[in-house]
């Protein structure tokens, strides 16, 4: 059986720079995997390759055994990959609830025909899923506020709720703890654990080493675009190559 998400010799060059270089990895269903690496290691590029924002220059991406590299981001999203963004991309001038509906709308693939009464079941499902997602992150009380007017911490959860409304099989969180204080980060850790317990497959890109080491079962380390380590948090913390990548080499 093939893995849930798999990359095979995945590579992407920008000019002469190998942003992602020959990365092969496999994520099994139900796993919570951390992806770490120093700044500029290619984490976000790897994410963008998986979600279709960037097309690979070499290699393949497979979701449930089917190739998804080269598809548009919306096709990949509809096949079940939901994501958040490193630098928080919410829709500021619409309400919190309307933000979340966008994930559900994408999943339902609504079109011009949605104005006809016989399409009402679709919009009922969108409403239902959006309520569910907002409830899961605890933002129901803010539902009719403009997204621009809620606090930074809440916006982080809003972004996750929007991704949950897509009913994704795989959730990719790009630095969800960035900008959060310690208490908020602990909350977030509990929340991600809960999502994982509910059976979701999650990839977590993070700078916050403690968060990754405390909640992930497996950690993949990237450095200069290459995968340098893949294993349990304990193994990764003792790996000489990882220490070298993070702390530099002694002459």
């Amino acid at each position: 059986m093939s893995a849930f998400l798999e990359t095979r010799q995945l590579g992407r060059t920008f000019g002469g720079l190998k942003a992602v270089d020959d990365v092969s990895m496999a994520i099994e269903q139900g796993e919570l995997v951390g992806l770490i690496g120093p700044n500029g290691a290619g984490k976000t590029t790897l994410f963008n390759l998986i979600s279709g924002f960037t097309t690979p220059t070499s290699g393949e991406v497979l979701l449930k055994g089917e190739r998804i590299d080269g598809l548009t981001p919306h096709d990949i999203a509809r096949r079940g990959i939901g994501r958040t963004f490193q630098n928080l991309r919410i829709f500021p001038n619409i309400s919190v609830f309307d933000n979340v509906t966008v994930g559900a709308i994408g999943h339902e693939n609504i079109g011009l025909g949605s104005i006809f009464p016989w399409q009402k079941a679709k919009s009922d499902r969108i409403t239902h899923k959006s309520f569910e997602a907002l409830e899961a992150v605890g933002l129901l009380a803010d539902a009719d506020d403009l997204a621009a007017n809620i606090s930074y911490g809440k916006r982080k959860y809003l972004e996750i709720a929007r991704a949950l409304a897509m009913q994704p099989d795989l959730l990719i969180l790009d630095e969800p703890a960035a900008g959060l204080n310690e208490t908020e980060t602990r909350h977030l850790a509990d929340f991600i654990r809960r999502l994982h317990r509910e059976g979701r497959t999650i990839i977590l890109i993070e700078h916050d080493m403690r968060l990754v080491m405390s909640i992930c079962q497996r950690v993949i380390v990237l450095a200069s675009g290459r995968k340098i380590c893949d294993g349990t948090p304990e193994r990764v913390q003792q790996d000489a190559g990882v220490l070298e990548a993070y702390l530099g080499v002694d002459e």
Partner: protein, 342 residues
């Protein structure tokens, strides 16, 4: 607030709008008793449709459209040529004019959809100018600057709609039906998808929204309704010329949308009423050349003090959700609200 309460409120508002459009305004017009006033009323309704159609593409989907008059013009010339050259009945020319405008909008949209923000705006500007130049210079078909006279009148099932009162009702029915469709598109999850691509189209794409298709659809639909407006203009005015569809008209429609509130359907209609009505009111008061200055000051003042427009998008959506009961009821922490769409 229970369900029957919101239903009755929806009927109250719908009733108010329809009574205003089909009873009160015609009554006032007949009291004034001048056919010129009917013409102003028709112009206001036609521009309300133009503003509403631009609202969909510019206000909701966020594509700055600087050439809307082109599709208005295609509808106008399309209807006039179909009626004069091919002797098509006036009833047939209205949907056909809309379809012609929609087809051209579609063809324009395919290559330009990849363009973003200001580049897209300049591309639409180019289309507007191109059409204007074509109508001016393709004399064999368009009669150039002389324009086209429509002799046929507006006959439907042997009833003549050319007289002021029937013409008013005809325009009112068609405009109301078109605005209703635009309302359904903007105030639904389809509208939410369009708003998402206005806010951040890359992000919307990552949520599974097919952004190129949505842009194409909204631009084409908007073109269709502009075409219908053009056909109504050609028939009610009885004469069209290139000057009716030049760049100034595109800017006038854009001003209506911005004045009323980008993303606000009631706002764009209010914008059309003000920017067509105000000059006529000022004319009655013999304001003479000061008219344009006064209109400029009004626009300037609104943008300065009310940058989101007279009826901003947020208040417009709140109004539709609460007064028309089109939102879903939600409760949390004792707070009652209406969110999403029915």
């Amino acid at each position: 607030m229970n369900a029957s309460d919101t239903t009755s409120r929806r009927w109250l508002w719908t009733g108010l709008i329809l009574t205003g459009l089909f009873v009160i305004v015609p009554l006032l017009l007949s009291l004034a008793g001048r056919s010129y006033f009917y013409q102003i009323a028709n112009t206001i309704m036609i521009f309300a449709l133009l503003a509403a159609s631009m609202h969909l593409v510019t206000g909701v989907a966020g594509l700055l459209q600087l050439g809307h008059a082109a599709f208005y013009g295609i509808g106008g010339y399309g209807a006039a040529l179909l009626a004069t050259h091919f002797k098509l009945s006036f009833a047939a020319t209205i949907p056909l004019a809309g379809l012609m405008a929609a087809l051209i909008a579609f063809l324009v949209a395919v290559p330009t959809m990849r363009l973003v923000s200001i580049y897209f705006a300049v591309a639409t500007l180019g289309i507007g100018q191109m059409l204007h130049v074509i109508t001016l210079n393709w004399v064999a078909v368009t009669k150039g600057p002389n324009g086209i006279l429509l002799f046929g009148g507006m006959k439907l099932f042997d009833i003549d709609f050319s007289k002021p009162v029937p013409a008013y009702y005809l325009v009112a029915v068609i405009v109301a039906a078109c605005v209703y469709v635009i309302h359904r598109l903007s105030h639904s999850y389809y509208g939410n998808a369009l708003r998402a691509l206005r806010e951040d189209d890359q992000c919307a794409d990552a949520m599974g929204i097919n952004t190129p298709r949505l842009k194409l659809e909204s631009f084409t639909v908007s073109g269709f309704f502009a075409g219908v407006a053009g056909a109504l203009w050609a028939h009610t005015a009885g004469y069209i010329s290139p000057a009716d569809f030049n760049f100034n008209v595109s800017i006038l429609i854009l001003s209506m949308v911005v004045l009323g509130g980008l993303g606000s359907l009631p706002g764009s209609i209010l914008g059309a009423i003000i920017l067509i009505g105000l000059p006529e009111v000022l004319r009655e008061f013999k304001a003479g050349d000061f008219r344009n200055i006064i209109i400029g000051v009004v626009l300037f003042g609104v943008i300065l003090f009310q940058p989101r427009g007279l009826i901003g998008e947020v208040s417009a959506l709140d109004f539709i959700r609460n007064q028309f009961g089109l939102g879903r009821k939600a409760r949390s922490d004792g707070k009652q609200m209406r969110v999403g769409w029915l």
